[in-house]
Amino acid sequence: MIDVINLEKQFGQNKVLNGISVTIEKGDIMVVIGPSGSGKSTFLRCLNCMEDPTGGQIIFNGENLADLSVDINIHRRHMGMVFQHFNLFSNKTVIENIMLAPVYVGCSDLKKIKRKNRSTKIKNLFSSSSQQELLPVPMTKAQITANAKKQAMELLDRIGLADKADVYPSTLSGGQKQRVAIVRSLAMNPDVILFDEPTSALDPEMVGEVLDLMKSLAKEGMTMVIVTHEMGFAKEVANKVLFMDEGRILESGAPDEFFGNPGNQRLKDFLSKVLS
């Protein structure tokens, strides 16, 4: 689904990614591990162009996202992202956080259709011979909002936070915030979700609830790319593990082989440090 070809990223003179090539298939749970400063977060953020790549290609749904002339906003709607620091909108309630993007996208599509229809009507006024047909208006604004609300409540039910729908994020615990952030990205029905160290800012006792939610997503066949330090999670859930250092992929493979029989010396050192 996502083909990354020779991806490069430079910050000034500092080369952070040195030609990353990897393919993410539908249904893949890909975990990226590596020491800090190895470029794994940058790699993840390049996938949806939060950082513009300075070289290489990212082919997603047949289009090269690294090409700056592509309308990235359209593609980002199919790629959810979950952040280390949750980044819930603090001026919106929990349910508004979840509804924001679906309602916005729905309404802007609606506006486009209406504008198109207006111009067709005007054209029709002036040409008696060829009457163009109007585009059907799928839903009114109220229906879009109602649908988004229903979906948001279902998502909140799923994570057991339906009673928190109308509170502001500042009243939630870290684990609750991160779970809301995950269902917020689900609200757009994405093809893939990118997780940028989703459990690193959490208290240890809250890590479990977030990982459980991610596991249940994995079971449903959601495609996920996860940057994390949770080796246990990687072993249990991932079907592909990447080890990155100095902007390169040093080793990749299925978790059994990857953790059981690491070939690369750098990876051996890393694993011996984090697993002991």
Partner: protein
């Protein structure tokens, strides 16, 4: 101070019998119109300028706009309000061949002037919002401007509300210079009463009290607004 009660009598006489109260109401109305409309223009224009100044500057257009906005802010912060009023009224209007009353001119000049100050406040406010908020919005596929409008600016406004209140208060007080372009404000009204009663002590004191009352009301309003906007921060 037997003298003083005499002065109060003179003031009341002119205030009521010589239609002084009408002048004061007129002045009060103009003062409020100029300050409120000035603030509205200032907030709208100032927010626009602030946003232009925080847009990422990879491309040429944002950079040009940024320079224009910098120049604008420098121009309006670098000259006194009175000078701007005089130039607008006596230079710009004849050149552009426009006819405007003093109050209209004052509204625009106050708006343009406060836009320069508010843009700087707003810029600080926008920069005080966690960049993660913008990132989260962009990652969902919303454009820069929608995220700015729905997420960042509301939070920025909340952060800068006390300073915005300050700006409103100083606008109210600065309206006392609009008589330079022939607009009737509070100062003009009390000056009228003073010159008709041949004594200025009481009118000017009353004028000061009116300004203070206005400012107190505004501060109260801002406090209430802060409380209602602050509900997203409260833990309950």
């Amino acid at each position: 101070m037997g003298n003083f009660s005499q002065k109060i009598d003179r003031f009341i006489e002119v205030f009521i019998d010589y239609n002084g109260y009408l002048k004061v109401m007129e002045g009060l109305k103009n003062t409020l119109i100029i300050a409120v409309l000035g603030l509205v223009i200032g907030i709208l224009l100032g927010t626009l300028i602030a946003t232009v100044r925080v847009v990422p500057k990879y491309k040429r257009l944002p950079r040009i706009l940024n320079t224009v906005c910098n120049f604008y802010v420098g121009l309006f912060r670098g000259t006194p309000m009175v000078v701007q009023l005089l130039i607008f009224y006596y230079v710009m209007l004849p050149i552009l061949n426009l006819h405007m009353t003093g109050v209209q001119v004052a509204v625009f000049v106050f708006g343009f002037n406060s836009a320069a100050y508010i843009s700087e406040m707003m810029r600080a406010g926008i920069q005080s919002v966690d960049p993660g908020q913008m990132e989260a919005g962009r990652a969902m596929g919303l454009g820069f401007w929608p995220v700015m409008r729905k997420i960042v600016i509301p939070q920025a406004v909340k952060n800068i509300l006390p300073t915005l209140g300050n700006e409103f208060i100083s606008l109210i007080k600065e309206t006392s210079v609009v008589s330079f372009v022939g607009a009737a404000d509070l100062y003009t009204a009390f000056n009228y009463i003073g010159s008709n009663s041949y004594e200025f002590m009481v009118p000017y004191l009353v004028m000061a009290v009116i300004y203070i009352v206005l400012v107190l009301i505004i501060s109260l309003g801002i406090k209430l607004m802060e409380r209602s906007l602050g509900k997203s921060d409260r833990r309950h």
